[in-house]
Amino acid sequence: MGADRPTGGRRRVASRRVASRRPGARALLVAALLTLGCGTAGVLPLTLIPVAIDDQVRWTTPSVDGPAIRLLFLEEDRGTFPLYRDTVARLGGPDAVRGQPIHKDAWSTTVRVGDRSVALGLPGELWRFLAALGAIVVVALVRHRRRPPDREAADDQSARATSGRPSA
């Protein structure tokens, strides 16, 4: 029984063969990383950390996306900044920031609001968002990886039949 088991070298060769049969798995991994990058790029600005601001706060309002997010409006009409409620709380709360000058360099973890310097952080809501997204992506990749080999062979056969070319 032990003699039938592949050695480390054989196992590596076998795994290389499987990998070469599944270029789709690599492409899917790239797509998964793109999805995770998209999610991270989407939620990081809600912490204000990547944003550069030199303006005055007009007001903040609750977002339609729920109580965890507030919209920050600035005096100079540069659109709105959706922020985590925790980030607004760090700035002193909706009432404290209204009318205050606000200055921040891009990717700095401190922001100046009025005469106060406030340290920014990564709120729990951000980690919850990334954990939920990451869990779905990992589950999807694991489910794809567990595809039965016989179905893969059937796919190969079907592809050869449609292209009319023999396999390499």
């Binding site: 599944r22 270029p23 789709g24 492409a27 899917l28 790239v30 797509a31 998964a32 793109l34 999805t35 995770l36 998209c38 999610g39 790029a41 989407g42 939620v43 809600l46 996306d65 729920g66 109580p67 965890a68 659109g79 709105t80 959706p82 919850r128 968002f129 939920a132 997204l133 779905i136 992506v137 589950v139 999807a140 990749l141 489910r143 794809h144 595809r147 796919d155 079907s158 592809a159 449609t162 292209s163």
Partner: protein
């Protein structure tokens, strides 16, 4: 069928985690449906990478629709569309190869899109 269940379970879990965000499960469902529709339209020669192609197409289309509807592209929401598309990767590959179930997969994809858009705009 298993992929449809996976998308439904993921949408329910996302709704339970983010109780105030009806749009996030909507993105998961629409992303899964959109990926199936894309997979049916992609040429068979690309069947090995069709799942990845479907995910990228779903991400781009979701970003464009978000920008058109909301005025700014919320990449966080868009990512959940991509996650939904990833969940149907196996079905996307099978649908691209063709067969009798191709029409059924396309129909399921359209239903997913309709349900997703319905959830997104029905709140």
């Amino acid at each position: 069928m298993a992929d449809v269940v996976a998308v439904a379970v993921a949408a329910v879990v996302v709704q339970l985690v983010f109780r105030q965000r009806v749009d996030l499960p909507a993105h998961v469902v629409a992303g899964g449906g959109g990926a199936l529709v894309v997979a049916v339209l992609v040429p068979r020669a690309l069947h090995r990478v069709v799942a990845a192609v479907a995910v990228v197409v779903v991400l781009v289309v979701a970003a464009v629709i978000e920008a058109a509807e909301v005025g700014l592209t919320d990449l966080g929401d868009v990512a959940f569309s991509g996650a939904g598309a990833l969940l149907v990767a196996r079905s996307a590959e099978e649908a691209c190869l063709g067969g009798r179930r191709r029409g059924l997969v396309a129909a399921v994809g359209v239903v997913g899109l309709v349900v997703g858009f319905g959830l997104r705009h029905g709140r």
